[in-house]
Amino acid sequence: MAEAAVTMPAASPVFDEAFLRSLSAQLGEREPLLSQRLDALRLLAQLPPPDRSSHLWRYTNPARLLPPQPVQAITGSGPIEGPELPEGGAVVVVASGRPPRVTISDAAAAAGLEIVPLTAEADAAERFGRKVDGTHGVFEALNAAGWTSGLLVRVPKDAVVPGPVHIVTMAGPGWSAPRLVVEAGINAALTVVDDHKGGGEGAYVSAVTETSLDPGANIRHVILQQLDAGTAAHLTARTGVGRDASLTTVLASFGGSVVKMDLGAILEGSGASSEIVGFVLGEARQHMDHHTVHEHVAPHTRSNIDFKVALTGRARSAYTGNIRIAKDAPGTEAYQENRNLLLSGTCRADTIPELEIMTDDVSCSHGATVSPLDPEQVFYLESRGIPQARAKRLIVRGFVDPALSRIPAGLREPLEAIIADRIGRFLMTDEEAAKS
């Protein structure tokens, strides 16, 4: 795959001030938000464009993630069918340039769950950039300036929301930049499903999710990236994990055409823990570039990553995983595992699991493998009477199971069907693929 142009033009080719003013008016937002957008636009002009010599951009050309023409207006997505309301939870449909549609179950409302558009929040400006500010990178600054939808999900102290909050974010045609802020109070518990859908050829997504966990809080953050083929997407998520708080991130990323994702947790309070369980599926010419980071800045923190990648066709994946342990984080344990399954001779997997450890009282390890389907496993299943094609499907299904099985019931079943279908396609021979 020839990727000639490496750098993107400096300054902001994506939109100008006039666009931001009209977007702000369209969303009906308060004044501090507009000046915040303009600040971010100014910052954007100063940020160096990402280029391949910085290693997080080594495998993806940033220009592929940006609209070729400046954005003039947000047209918004078409009519959206909301998914079912999960029991005890809430459902939100977010579309560019229009207010989100929020349905909260009685049980969740009684527990204290609040879901509001950021534009309606009096102090919205202050809720921005706590975990991801504009200096994080060009795409984060683009989002800070030109976010097209903003949502705040909040659970107060001691609140336990019984069901999941399912947020469906629809990518519109053209540019969309959803922004999500999740805040969990002391000892609160919540499951958030951050579901990215829609898009298509010519659709560009630049999403940012910021989450904070107060002491003792417990959040399961499910990220589903099932954008339509043709979409180019950049997604950034950062979570601050407070004292004795616990975060589980479940990732299923298999949509889009060019996808770059930057997931991370900062373990800021003593005793905090974070786990990332995820899988990526790539087929045809999909380009998947995922980065995870666990930053330990407080003592006695724990983290674990189980990251799986299965590829077929001419798909390409890059995974970079970083574990950083600061000088002030003794007593830390951090583990990371990345497995890559290559199901065709023309796919490509790059993996860079990194450790940066600045103190000695740690226990830390990582492992990475790249291999085809294990013929011994296939043989074993065949010897038990399972036909070869099915045996292979079972093995790939088992490969992604650790993440899939942690998606809340009710949401998991439709996803299982999609994944099963995808795996079936993965393992088709060329003749079968030609026939279908």
Binding site: D350, E354, E356, A368
Partner: protein
């Protein structure tokens, strides 16, 4: 102050007493300070090199000047390196000698401390003692000559075998590979040239000792080793450096070529004093069924950047890197390995061990690459890091680029501190805390040490004990 704290404080504080090498300077010829086409011209003319080599040098200097400094290393440390404040060539007194007796007395005294004559008496094949930028002592045992093995300093090699040198020089590490390879190509001086004829086994390791002995001297060693079909050679390079007052640069280029079925093992332990920048490019090309092994120990220097590589160019080739790094206070050991699988059924293994102590930082930076069509390849990478002291730092930056499905690639890394449980267990068996600590460290590096020839293993164990000193009472 506990004994542990004392041990940490003492690291590299007493280099002079421990090693005590610092002889008066004495030179026949020295180029002016700094780097320019005039200096390059001067070096080449002085050495009476053929025109093609002089042109290679000039081209390389242009590449060096055009390339940016590497960005992945601590920039503040690298900033201390001033290319204009170095001498790029010095000619030591005395002509190239073959007989130990003819080596100047003062130089011999230094080698005595390194144990060269001792080794010579025992079983060394040839000693190529690089003093400053030139080889001053060179002996080849008769049976080596009878076997047809060429073991020369590279300047003599260029004079006597220009054809071979012209064919292979820069074929594995081209000048444009990286900034420091370009620098070396422009100003190289000294190093070894080894050619082993087909199906010849060199039974005894070939050794070259060298050291830097003057302020602001750059050493730009260039070594080229060719093992022809089915040949075997083990080459050992060891270095110890004296104390200096200002920073010094060592930037070598080592090229190994293992033809079909050949086997090359290259062992090195560097123990430069902690003001030396050690920026080395080591790379091998392995053809069909050839084996190349790098055994690499990094104990000294201020900054080391060294990533021994094997290009597995022929079917069935095998590459191996076994390395250890010890980073004490103020040291950054940025070591690693690269395995480039270009042919089917090639295999590679990397075992990397590092110890970071006090404010030391050691990093593993590696690459395993498999190109389309390199079917049936296997690679296994293992990194172990040991941290001693709350300020110690360890990094692991492995890169795997896999563009072929019929392969198996594994990487694992572990980082831990000296375990209290292990210390406690050993102490409960009657060892002092210091003895226990040394025993654990020795156990940690054991897989590396056992791959070394005996006298090197002894030397390394002594070095570790010195570095851990006070820990051993």
């Amino acid at each position: 102050m506990t004994s542990k704290e004392r041990a940490i404080a003492s690291i590299n504080q007493d280099y002079l007493e421990k090693y005590g090498f610092h002889d008066p300077e004495e030179y026949l010829l020295r180029t002016p300070k700094g780097l320019s086409h005039e200096v390059v011209e001067m070096i080449s003319r002085y050495k009476q090199e053929p025109d093609w080599m002089r042109e290679i040098r000039h081209r390389a200097l242009d590449i060096f000047l055009a390339k940016p400094m590497p960005t992945w290393i601590d920039q503040s440390m690298l900033a201390e390196l001033n290319f204009d404040d170095l001498y790029y060539y010095m000619k030591p007194p005395g002509e190239l000698t073959r007989d130990w007796d003819e080596v100047p007395e003062r130089i011999k005294k230094t080698f005595d401390r390194l144990g060269v004559p001792e080794a010579e008496r025992k079983f060394l094949a040839g000693v190529s003692a690089q003093y400053e930028s030139e080889v001053v002592y060179h002996s080849i045992r008769e049976d080596l000559e009878k076997q047809g093995v060429i073991f020369l300093d590279i300047d003599s090699g260029l004079k006597e075998h220009p054809g071979i040198i012209k064919k292979f020089f820069g074929s594995v590490v081209p000048a444009a590979d990286n900034k420091f390879a370009a620098l070396n190509t422009a100003v190289w001086s000294g190093g070894s040239f080894v050619y082993v004829p087909p199906h010849t086994k060199v039974e005894i390791p070939l050794q070259a000792y060298f050291r830097i002995n003057s302020k602001n001297i750059g050493q730009f060693e260039r070594t080229l080793i060719i093992a022809d079909e089915g040949a075997f050679v083990h080459y050992i390079e060891g270095c110890t450096a004296p104390v200096y007052s200002s920073d010094s640069l060592h930037s070598g280029v080592i090229e190994l070529i293992a033809m079909k079925g050949a086997h090359i093992r290259y062992s090195t332990i560097q123990n430069w004093s902690t003001n030396v920048f050690n920026l080395v490019t080591q790379r091998a090309k392995a053809y069909e069924n050839a084996i190349v092994e790098w055994v690499d120990g990094n104990m000294g220097s201020k900054v080391t950047m060294k990533y021994p590589a094997v290009i597995l160019a022929g079917e069935g080739a095998h590459g191996e890197v076994l390395s250890i790094a010890f980073a004490g206070n103020g040291q950054h050991q940025d070591a690693g390995a690269k395995m480039i699988h270009l042919a089917p059924n090639t295999t590679s293994r990397i075992i990397s061990k590092s110890i970071s102590k006090d404010m030391g930082r050691s990093s593993y930076r590696g690459l395993v690459k498999m190109t389309p069509g390199s079917t049936g390849c296997k690679s296994h990478v293992e990194c172990d890091a040991l941290l001693i002291g709350a300020e110690a730092r360890s990094d692991t930056y492995p890169t795997m680029e896999i563009a072929e499905d019929d392969v198996s690639v594994e990487h694992e890394a572990r980082v831990s501190k000296l375990a209290d449980e292990q210390l406690f267990y050993l102490q409960s068996r009657g060892l002092s805390e210091d003895q226990a600590r040394l025993m654990i460290v020795n156990g940690f590096i054991e897989p590396f040490v056992k791959e070394l020839p005996m006298e090197y293993a002894v030397e390394l164990n002594r070095l570790i004990a010195l570095e851990m000193e006070d820990s051993v009472g």
